[in-house]
């Protein structure tokens, strides 16, 4: 006979304000098998927990039901209390009479009756609970970091410095990410490359970091502590070991007119190239889409001129398989192009550029060597208009969120322009100025007050070209909506920060959630910002939402801390809520008939085939077996099994049926 203890929590007024808790206790005490039913003000408090512990010892309880809040927060609290009193923690369950009862109903007898029902249901379940024991799994202490921008670099360095191995995978030929493209950074105006490149070099030299550039994650299988990653190392066309990075191939390449990705299309590069001078590694790649050899079958100029004979035109993609214990996704963001805006000419005017392009214009390493010149004719613009919130915060454009960095970089851009062209005029159209951050507001004020940037509160309705100028039409919403027309030489759109075009595929490879904008989802927006709902997969930087550099670096370190924490023990323990295939004595062995429908249905590839053999080693029967390391306890196989041979531990068919019958 079961001896269940029922503990009913008032949760202050949260439950007791609506539910007659004394009545619940009284009703619970009459359920067969209940040895004790009490109510208390705060069950989660120390005295509350002690009540449970004492009762377990005194009444020799075989199970505990805590009727209180949702199990999400406090289930571990009560289970631990039970464990301390010597009761298997999985014999303790919670009846949710707060979120599912007191919070959603008015005070009435019916509400109390519902609370009693909820308690009764869980009591019937707990009567059938069996002791369960956590599953131990080993941990591979190597981290896979995806993305070599500042977020990934930070995470990789932090993990590596803690003594763990890191595999850093970057899609582009060099690490550095968008930060390498920036001119100066707000709010200090220090040179972006000057602060970034030492970190890049550190990554390259770190003994614990293996760097794969020009590579992408092909697939990821396994589970926390035990992932198997396949990495596609794209054919570089160059033997990295032989190449010295002398650059002769780039000089000799006859294809020189390819728009440079690094210069956001404003500069040109050859078909064999390193994206920028400080690239890490400083080894070129061959862009097969534009290379004459791959298009026409002849040329081979680079091969001919390479003294080290490092060019490998026949190189193939390589698949590298690695075992890792944790993954940090730091694949960053993209920004919308100017062609996204029909009202601003659909990208047809060369002198309407986006923020990243302005960065390249302002950068000393850029196509104009830092002189602000407009793309159409190379003239220095006398009037520049900056348009913030281009796409962002605009439901009509399908981008409802704030891109977060634009207010700051627009102020910076205007400032940089004014510093270089003292007589030039800089206008900023804005909706609101969002300058939350250390020294951020001061920075914007400096642009307005010291550098004389003219801020106009209003949106730009249209930009078109007329008589060699770009006519920017807007309204000053602070001055009664007065229409404004500015004839500008250059317009910079602070286009929205968006998820990478392949973010959705990445999320699917990693089996993590993503939001409608394809930013990857964190486990909890406040309390678990760098974790995902898939254990062992973490997020750093703008892959999760728009972020500036300080925040990206902070989340990079935060993700690293999570990984280091994970690697701090040799084994992980997991909740034993997993599926099991029943085993019976011979001659049946199991009710499993070996149809293996479950094998096809399992989203985690956790179903294995087990051969049952006689003493001579002859196979008698093949039955399904669940790999406890891979099973996530989703229950798909349980629902699908035609002979009911599979059960979910802790949520067995018998338990669920008992709950239903108790209603």
């Amino acid at each position: 006979m079961s001896r269940i203890g029922v503990f009913i929590c008032h949760c202050g007024e949260n439950i007791a304000g609506t539910v007659d808790v004394a009545k619940v206790a009284e009703a619970a005490s009459k359920i067969p098998g209940v040895a004790l039913a009490v109510d208390y003000k705060y069950m989660c408090s120390d005295p509350g927990q002690n009540m449970i512990k004492d009762a377990i010892k005194e009444k020799k309880l075989t199970g505990v039901v805590v009727a209180a809040c949702s199990p999400r927060m406090h289930e571990p609290t009560f289970r631990n209390a039970c464990a301390e009193a010597g009761l298997n923690p999985f014999l303790c369950e919670m009846a949710n009479i707060r979120e599912q009862c007191s919070w959603v109903h008015e005070k009435s007898d019916v509400t109390t009756a519902k609370a009693i029902e909820l308690v009764r249901v869980i009591v019937e379940k707990v009567k059938r609970n069996k002791p369960l024991y956590p599953i131990k799994v080993p941990v591979t202490k190597t981290a896979l970091v995806l993305g070599g921008g500042i977020g990934g670099i930070q995470a990789a360095l932090d993990i590596a410095n803690a003594g763990h191995k890191v595999i850093l995978v970057e899609k582009q030929p060099s690490i550095g990410g968008h930060m390498a493209q920036l001119s100066e950074t707000f709010p200090t105006l220090d040179c972006s490359q000057c602060i970034l490149t030492p970190r890049m070099v550190e990554v390259a030299r770190h003994p614990n970091i293996t760097l794969y550039t020009y590579s992408e994650l092909e697939s990821l299988d396994g589970f926390i502590g035990n992932f198997k990653a396949r990495i596609r190392k794209k054919a570089r066309g160059v033997d990295e070991k032989l190449c010295t990075g002398c650059g002769v191939c780039m000089q000799k390449c006859p294809q020189k007119k390819i728009p440079s990705e690094f210069d956001a299309g404003l500069g040109k590069r050859p078909a064999i190239y390193v994206p920028f001078p400080q690239a890490v590694p400083n080894k070129p790649v061959i862009d097969r889409e534009h290379c004459t050899y791959y298009k026409k079958g002849k040329c081979r100029v680079c091969e001919k001129f390479c003294e080290k004979k490092a060019v490998r035109l026949d190189q193939q993609d390589e698949i590298i398989e690695v075992d890792v214990g944790a993954v940090v996704a730091a694949t960053g963001y993209d920004i919308k192009g100017t062609d996204f805006f029909p009202e601003y000419g659909y990208g047809k005017y060369p002198d309407i550029i986006n923020g990243l392009q302005f960065e390249r214009l302002a950068s000393a390493s850029g196509p104009t060597l830092g002189a602000i010149k407009r793309p159409s004719d190379g003239k220095e613009p006398e009037t520049i208009v900056f348009v913030s919130c281009a796409g962002s915060r605009d439901p009509a454009k399908g981008i409802n969120y704030c891109s977060k960095i634009c207010c700051m970089y627009t102020a910076k851009h205007a400032m940089l322009y004014k510093h270089k062209n003292h007589h030039g005029k800089a206008y900023v159209f804005y909706m609101d100025i969002r300058a939350g951050g250390k020294m951020y507001e001061e920075f914007v004020r400096r642009a307005i007050e010291e550098d004389g940037v003219v801020y106009i509160r209003g949106r730009v309705s249209r930009i078109y070209q007329e008589d060699g100028k770009l006519v920017v039409k807007g309204a000053d919403s602070l001055l009664g909506g007065e229409p404004i027309e500015i004839k500008a030489d250059l317009v910079v759109l602070a286009t929205a920060m968006v998820a990478n075009s392949d973010a959705e595929q990445l999320a699917q490879k990693l089996k993590v959630g993503y939001d409608p904008y394809h930013f990857l989802s964190e486990a909890h927006p406040k309390l678990r910002p760098v974790e995902t709902n898939t254990a062992g997969i973490f997020l750093a930087g703008a892959v999760q939402a728009p972020k500036d550099i300080p925040e990206t670096v902070a989340t990079g370190s935060a993700a690293a801390a999570k990984v280091i924490g994970l690697f701090s023990s040799a084994e992980l323990s997991r909740e034993p809520v997993i599926a099991v295939v029943n085993r019976l004595p011979p001659p049946q062995f199991s009710t499993c008939t070996g149809c293996f429908l479950c094998e096809k249905a399992c989203p985690f590839q956790a179903i294995e085939r087990e051969e049952i053999k006689d003493r001579k080693g002859n196979v008698i029967k093949v039955v399904a077996k669940v790999n406890p390391g891979l099973c996530q306890g989703c229950g798909t196989c349980v629902a699908l099994c035609r002979v009911k041979a599979i059960d979910l531990q802790g949520f067995s068919n018998e338990q669920i049926l008992a709950e239903v019958l108790a209603l």
């Binding site: 805006f341 029909p342 659909y346 009509a396 249209r462 078109y464 070209q465 007329e466 006519v471």
Partner: protein, 309 residues
Amino acid sequence: MKLGYFPGCSLQGMDIDFNESVFALARRTDLHLIEIPDWNCCGSTSAHNVSHLLSLALPARILALAEKAGLDEILVPCSACYQRLMTAQHELLENDELRKEVVDIIEMDYKGTSKILNIIEGMVKIFSGAELKIEKPLNAKVACYYGCLMVRPPKVMKFDRAEDPQSMDELMKKFGADPVDWPFKTECCGAGLTLTRTDLVCKLSAKVIESAIKNGAEIIIVACPMCHANLDMRRADIEKAAGKKYNIPVLYITQAIGLALGINEKELGMHRHFVPFVLPEQPKAAPSAKPAEPAKPEVGEKPAAGAEE
């Protein structure tokens, strides 16, 4: 082809030439226009200034009548009418409470089964696929002026690209015209302010005309009676305000198509324009490369009859 037809009040009065040209095209093609029986005013700009409910009930009655008459598609040439009908349809189909309220007011059921076509959609429907007998390709640079009502708000109208529509340009190309790329396609002409704030209308309309000319247009093609009224009828006021003469004529899309099809100008209501229309000179000799029509019924250039005034 059978289409329901809602002329609205503009096409019965001020913009009768729009109506005439629609019917001229209908006669030329096998289009049978069935006027919605007992239709009423769409409420235009006035109704929604007075009462939101009224501004929905008026168009709802029209749509309900169309449904009752079994019209699956209704052609609505006036942009203002089109916008009011679309708005009512959108709001009523989104909000069932509101729909019931309005149904109660108009004492007719409304399900939203009739599709509403603006004049461009109507023309595309009529002329897509049909073999075109283009007798006089327009051979002129045209500025396709969609106006503000037809495309806005985009989530209600769901027509073309709201900021840079293309459908009229494509249509005009079919009829041998050369549409120019210009930025004022959907700017406001001043619309209903024409009586109360003529000064503003002149200013706004002047900008539209100016931009069309600057971008090389020889004709402005409109799809809205209001645009036509302001750009054409108000031309003298506009010129006075701008201190400039503009000769650029303003044609309805239906008139432009009618001309290309060789329909008689009178039939198209061309004589009703304030700004006289002269068909740009056709390049003599050498059959124009563009509309390579196998059947050329009448190559002889009847020199355009010139504007009748």
